[in-house]
């Protein structure tokens, strides 16, 4: 069994019309044994930018702190918030720095451009290979299931509340077929005006 499946967990992000959504499950496990149902894997970076970090839990925490540190340094040096595209490259180079002893995390980035509110999503593999998708990105132990869901449910130019429903259904039905993900979920809906964060109840088995 791969180290990527040691703790379990999944994240999905989607682009909508002037909005993005990112969602992750809440399970923390030790192989097949579930330990906690409150382990959030999606973290805010700026007012309009989130990162999801599914993978090895210890690396999730390390990377969360690393990204907090590096985006704080960026803000101090530049005097402005980091843009989603720039942050995606920061994620990529942070991971590639450890090319031969990688962090076992496959991050997902979702946010709105602070200048023009253009929606942005991206994902990388564990050594930082970037994937800028126009539609949706998935990551984690339920990624194959969520690919199947998202490929059928997603459509272009979804309004915020429709995007919320699409991303929630993708995540929920995906993790319900994955033994290593689930146990509740959190969805962040990012619009130019506000961020809506909702907790989803789901199957607890």
């Amino acid at each position: 069994m791969s180290i990527m499946e040691y703790n379990g967990g999944s994240v999905v992000a989607m682009r909508g019309k002037k909005c993005v959504a990112i969602a992750g499950d809440l399970r923390l496990g030790n192989r097949n044994m579930s330990l906690a149902a409150n382990f959030e894997k999606v973290f805010p970076i700026t007012q309009k930018l989130y990162v999801g970090l599914p993978g090895l839990a210890t690396d999730v925490l390390t990377l969360r702190d690393t990204f907090r540190f590096r985006t704080n340094m960026y803000k101090l040096k530049e005097g402005r918030e980091i843009e989603p595209n720039t942050f995606a490259h920061l994620v990529s180079s942070t991971l590639y720095e450890r090319r031969w002893s990688p962090y076992f995390v496959e991050p997902v980035v979702a946010g709105l451009d602070p200048n023009n509110s253009e929606p942005f999503i991206a994902a990388t593999d564990l050594i930082g290979c970037l994937n800028f998708a126009k539609d949706f990105v998935v990551s984690g132990t339920a990624s194959d299931k969520m690919f199947g869901m998202a490929e059928s449910l997603w459509e272009p130019d979804l309004e915020a509340e429709d995007l919320f429903e699409t991303v929630s259904q993708t995540l929920l039905n995906g993790v319900d077929r994955d033994a290593l993900s689930g146990w509740g979920a959190v969805v962040h809906l990012i619009t130019p005006e506000k961020i809506i964060t909702r907790s989803l109840k789901s199957r607890m088995d």
């Binding site: 194959d144 299931k145 969520m146 690919f147 199947g148 869901m149 490929e151 059928s152 449910l153 929630s168 259904q169 929920l172 039905n173 995906g174 319900d176 077929r177 789901s202």
Partner: protein, 255 residues
């Protein structure tokens, strides 16, 4: 290294039951490793007027299994002067699969058809014969992509009914909805799985009450090769022929 008698030939199959029909579908790509061997090799076979079988995994084992099933159905017909009922076919397939428990057929099998009371039925199997009657089932290379979608669309998982006093019942969707779900499932799987694609064969097993409007609509918009009635002339055992099986062929992406 010793000789390995197995390989995997990709592809994916799917079946959904309705009130008075059942759809059994499979893509037609056969592959080994990264090579596409054929773009049109069927994985779904009509067994009789009430049963259609789909088998996926190691193609040689699948074809051998279906050959044996057809042979057993033929001898049953000669011995009992009637077609074997669907549930009996399912039980027979379980014994045939378990009969090779220690040198298994590497096949994931789904049987779809019309049961004794005329309702659509799906039976899903694992390679050593464990089986279950269900409303829908996906199997094969893209099972993990398709099954969650079916959970959502057929079993209405994670959905709140608009009218809680009258929730939707799985297995009651009309034929046009089911055909749309099957098509969407496979176009999605084709997009994200390299072993799925080329073409989609959908067998529609219907009973006499089934509203064929959805099929007629497709007939009007489609070319002749897209719709083919598979039911052939055969000896009559159950009085007037009631069940018809139709075959729909749709092209999928070939990359």
């Amino acid at each position: 290294m010793s000789f390995s008698p197995y390989t995997q030939n990709g592809g994916t199959i799917l079946a959904i039951a309705g009130k008075d029909f059942c759809v059994v579908a499979g893509d037609t790509r056969q592959s080994e490793g990264f090579s596409i061997q054929s773009r049109y090799e069927t994985k779904v076979w009509r067994l009789n007027e009430k049963a259609t079988i789909a088998a996926n995994g190691f193609a040689a084992d699948c074809k051998q299994l279906v050959k044996r099933v057809k042979w057993r159905l033929e001898t049953y017909k000669h011995a009992h002067n009637r077609e074997m009922p669907l549930k009996s076919i399912a039980r027979m397939v379980q014994t045939m699969l378990y009969g090779k428990r220690f040198f298994p057929f590497y096949s994931y099998v789904i049987i779809g058809g019309i049961d004794d009371d005329g309702t659509g039925a799906v039976y899903g199997f694992d390679p050593v014969g464990s089986y279950e009657r269900e409303t829908c089932r996906a199997a094969g290379a893209a099972q993990s992509l398709l099954q969650p979608f079916l959970d959502n669309q057929i079993y209405f998982r994670n959905q709140q009914p608009a009218d809680p006093t009258n929730p939707p019942i799985p297995g009651t969707l009309p034929l046009d909805n089911v055909l749309a779900i099957v098509t969407d499932s496979f176009t999605g799987a084709t997009e994200r799985h390299i072993e799925v694609g080329d073409a989609l064969e959908m067998y529609v097993v219907t009973n006499s009450n089934c509203d064929l409007g959805a099929l007629q609509q497709i007939t009007q918009s489609a070319t002749k090769t897209d719709l083919e009635q598979v039911a052939r002339e055969e000896a009559e055992f159950n009085g007037p022929k009631s069940c018809k099986t139709f075959k729909l062929l749709r092209q999928l992406k070939k990359d």
